[in-house]
Amino acid sequence: MTCRIASSHGRRFAVAAVSVVVLSTSAGRAQDVTESSLKAAFVYNFAKFTEWPADVLSPTATFAACVLGDSPTRDALDRIVKGRQLSGRTISVSEVQLGVGLRSCHLLYMSGVTKTQITAIVAAVRGVPVLTISDTDDFARGGGIAQMFVENGKIRFDINLDVAKESRLQLSSKLLALAAHLRGGPGAQGW
């Protein structure tokens, strides 16, 4: 088959269209990361936007990030923290078992565990400065601090500020502003 030569107008349009690469801020991503990498990045960000009381996390202490029941996210978190620090502190990531030394974690991410187990864990660390994070339904409502969920393919999160305060954790206003739902504090909504 033959082909007509496109008008010079069309060609100019094409060249202009494809060669213009001006940098600006971005939006919208597609299928190029795994859910566990993305969750690990959220977990890291939650830690970045939280302040622990000095008595449990001195400026020179190692930050203890604990993962329960989700080894892919543990692996992803391991990769993320490599060569990174949290306010000058090195980060250690460890996989923990139910009921063992959870109170010595600064951050505890749990996934793939039953609601009964979650209730027990949340009760065990109640009042202790442990930033609890999970992707289990009703986690924040049931006494956890940060709950991730997927909506329209993207990760959203809820924050229970009452529990955070009780645990003497200071969450940044930025984190609170981005939460889908917030329990406690000014501007609490949707519970």
């Binding site: 060249v15 690469v21 940098l23 299928q31 795994t34 990045a41 960000n45 990174r84």
Partner: protein, 668 residues
């Protein structure tokens, strides 16, 4: 001449690739802001296992297209979306769009080997079994949240039609629409479109979405068909007979555990090709088809303890009217045939997903379908006469079970089985998968599956094709597939997939002088195919994203060893979206290339490459300007068509342009 065209396509490729390194180096995930992380897709798929799961764990090779991509690439039909998907191609006979995949795109088949779902509910009609993917689909892509493409057989979950692939369209909620919008656009070929949509999730959790779209196009004003080039038939020129008009309404309400979805779409197409032996360039009346789809769907979905329960009831209605002007006895007065089809069905479905000891996840369900109408008729007007009328109805039911076992931390076994009972036959179809996930960013899958496609009511139409088609049996397929998916540095995904399938007893049209249409259907053809598909998807800094895929497929007839008709051996697709000159604007381009295809008459069509470009640019906070050019370089190419046409191949549209504006208001 063709060299020039290829050269130009290569130029676009080079320019786009050259642009890549100019984008800033990709920031690692943890260096992205929370806002940016919140725009990233978590990569979950529903349709592979009738529950949300990570793509890496799904027992299939999966692609999905998001609302963001639909907007950026200016996709106006489901067919536009599917054209850009690895291993898929769409042919068009200026009446319907037909989807080909895995080297199989037999002209004259009504897309009945692809299962089309809307929010997980089957929408292939119950007469032709057709998955309508052009404007005839009846829903506007602007209302798609995402489209999941699940490759390979899935009859173990869905039964009939889940033969080569499942396409699941997930529609947008009120929260996703977030506010009201008005869009208008216009373009070449007399195209104009208007859309209004509104949606919100209220504080009490009630979510409401409503939308309506009207679109019309005059089409190509003069189409030349050399097969009709005689003085009696306007020298082969069909004038003003390529018009299309489509109207769609959509609504969804959800609260607590209930979701109600309703949609109605109507598409009318003038047919310029004089198919089915109709009069060429006839305007009184023109050959014309009208397709209508109605969907009303109510779903109750709830987690009770360790169980997730879904109960669903749906009403589907499909109707089709074809107007066919034939040569009449009085000169100048055509004999007009009107073909009417009505397909109505009620579906009730229940499903339970439950975690079991030993890290198992069990899904079990049952479906009952009452096909109230599967009616077909043909009548003539001028003079009036009913040629035939078939009032048919049937019921079918099925039960299925699927179990996923996490054998170790890195190994998943997945098995499924479904029993389908029709009035004339039963079918049991299995699927099995072994998925190894040695690290969080890599997975290997071995997939085995079978599927069937039941003879549809059109093929069983005794008036058209004789009584013998009443004894047609379901056709079947067995597929083996290996998939390797890899996620590198949190910005690059690569996928390699190799498959082999054998399809047996394919329902095939053969000549039969004794029937009304002089053809009939038999369980005739066996096809063996193997293929390799490669894909890389990347996200660089500054909003730059791209996807490149290559597929190689060899599908041949077992008896003749010939490559199938309309089966390109190679396809390459490139999609790139880069930030445009102004803030939040994007320039998105795709190049779709396909190797040569054989036609029914044994001719070979040249390789084709087409390019599409869309620019989206916000004007202030409330307006968005969209400009699109399809087939930018005006490449001339044709698609193979069925023997319903005198033509062996039908030339496709050259360059078309559209420009439009969307006004968004009342957003939170």
């Amino acid at each position: 001449m063709i060299k020039i065209r290829r050269g130009r396509v290569a130029l676009v490729l080079v320019l786009l690739l050259a642009a890549a390194p100019r984008a800033a180096a990709q920031a690692p995930l943890p260096d992205l802001s929370l806002e940016e992380l919140m725009t990233m897709d978590a990569g979950r798929v529903f349709g592979a296992s009738v529950r949300l799961q990570p793509v890496t764990e799904a027992p299939a090779s999966v692609s999905f297209i998001t609302a963001e991509e639909i907007a950026r690439y200016g996709y106006r039909t489901l067919a536009d979306i599917l054209r850009g998907v690895r291993g898929m191609y769409v042919t068009n006979d200026r009446n319907f769009s037909f989807m080909g995949t895995r080297g199989f795109g037999r002209p004259g088949d009504y897309n009945s080997r692809i299962l089309l779902l809307v929010n997980g509910h089957r929408v292939n009609d119950n007469v032709f079994g057709q998955a309508e993917v052009g404007a005839e689909f009846g829903m506007d892509p602007a209302l798609f949240e995402r489209v999941e493409i699940i490759r390979g057989p899935a009859s173990s979950l869905y039964g009939d039609s889940a033969f080569f692939a499942v396409v699941n369209v997930i529609t947008r909620s009120g929260a996703s629409l977030d506010g009201a919008s008005l869009s208008v656009d216009g373009g070449t070929l007399g195209t104009r479109m208007a859309r209004a949509s509104a949606g919100r999730r209220f504080a009490d959790g009630v979510d409401v979405a409503v939308a309506g779209t009207y679109e019309a196009s005059a089409g190509v004003n003069q189409l030349y068909f050399p097969e009709f080039d005689t003085p009696d038939t306007n020298h082969g020129i069909a004038e003003g007979l390529d018009g299309e008009r489509a109207g769609q309404v959509y609504g969804q309400v959800s609260f607590k555990n209930f979701t109600f979805t309703g949609a109605y779409g109507r598409r009318q197409k003038d047919v310029p090709t004089a198919s089915f032996g109709t009069l060429f360039n006839e305007h009184h009346p023109p050959e014309q088809t009208t397709d209508r789809h109605t969907l009303v769907d109510a779903e109750y979905s709830r987690t009770i303890g360790a169980n997730h329960v879904t109960i669903r009831a749906s009403f589907d209605q499909f109707s089709y009217d074809g107007i066919y002007p034939f040569l009449g006895e009085t000169p100048g007065v055509p004999l007009v045939g009107i073909n009417s089809v009505l397909g109505t069905s009620w579906t009730a479905e229940a499903r339970l997903t439950r975690a079991l000891p030993g890290r198992q996840l069990l899904t079990a369900g049952g479906v009952f379908i009452d096909n109230v109408n599967q009616d077909q008729g043909l009548r003539y007007v001028g003079p009036v006469g009913q040629v035939f009328l078939i009032d048919h109805s049937s019921v079918q039911q099925a039960v299925y079970v699927q179990d996923e076992i996490k054998l170790t931390r890195w190994l998943i076994a997945n098995g499924g089985l479904r029993y389908d009972a029709y009035q004339d036959f039963q079918r049991v179809t299995p699927r099995a998968a072994l998925i190894a996930i040695p690290s969080s960013n890599q997975s290997f899958k071995y997939l085995f599956g079978q599927a069937f496609r039941a003879p549809n009511q059109y093929e069983r139409n005794a008036f058209y094709f004789g009584e013998a088609t009443g004894s047609l049996r379901p056709e079947s397929i067995s597929t083996h597939e290996l998939v390797w998916e890899r996620y590198l540095h949190d910005w690059l995904r690569t996928s390699v997939s190799a498959y082999w399938y054998k399809a047996a007893g394919l329902i095939t049209q053969v000549p039969d002088p004794s029937t009304f249409l002089a053809t009939t259907y038999v369980n005739g053809q066996d096809v063996v195919a193997k293929g390799l598909e490669l894909e890389a998807q990347m996200r660089l800094g500054a909003g730059f994203q791209g996807l490149v895929s290559y597929s190689l497929q060899r599908a041949h007839d077992v008896e003749t060893s010939q490559t199938l008709v309309n089966s390109p051996e190679q396809m390459m697709k490139l999609r790139l979206s880069v930030p445009g000159p102004s803030k939040r604007s994007f320039v998105s381009a795709e190049v779709l290339a396909m190797s040569s295809r054989r036609t029914l008459a044994g001719n070979t069509l040249s390789p084709t490459a087409t390019a599409n470009v869309t620019i989206t640019a916000p004007i202030g906070p409330a307006f968005m300007l969209v400009g699109s050019a399809r087939n930018l370089f005006n490449a001339e190419y044709a698609d193979p068509v069925s023997d319903q046409n005198l033509q062996d191949a039908i030339t496709q549209n050259g360059r078309t342009l559209r420009i439009g504006v969307t006004w968004k208001f009342l957003s939170k």
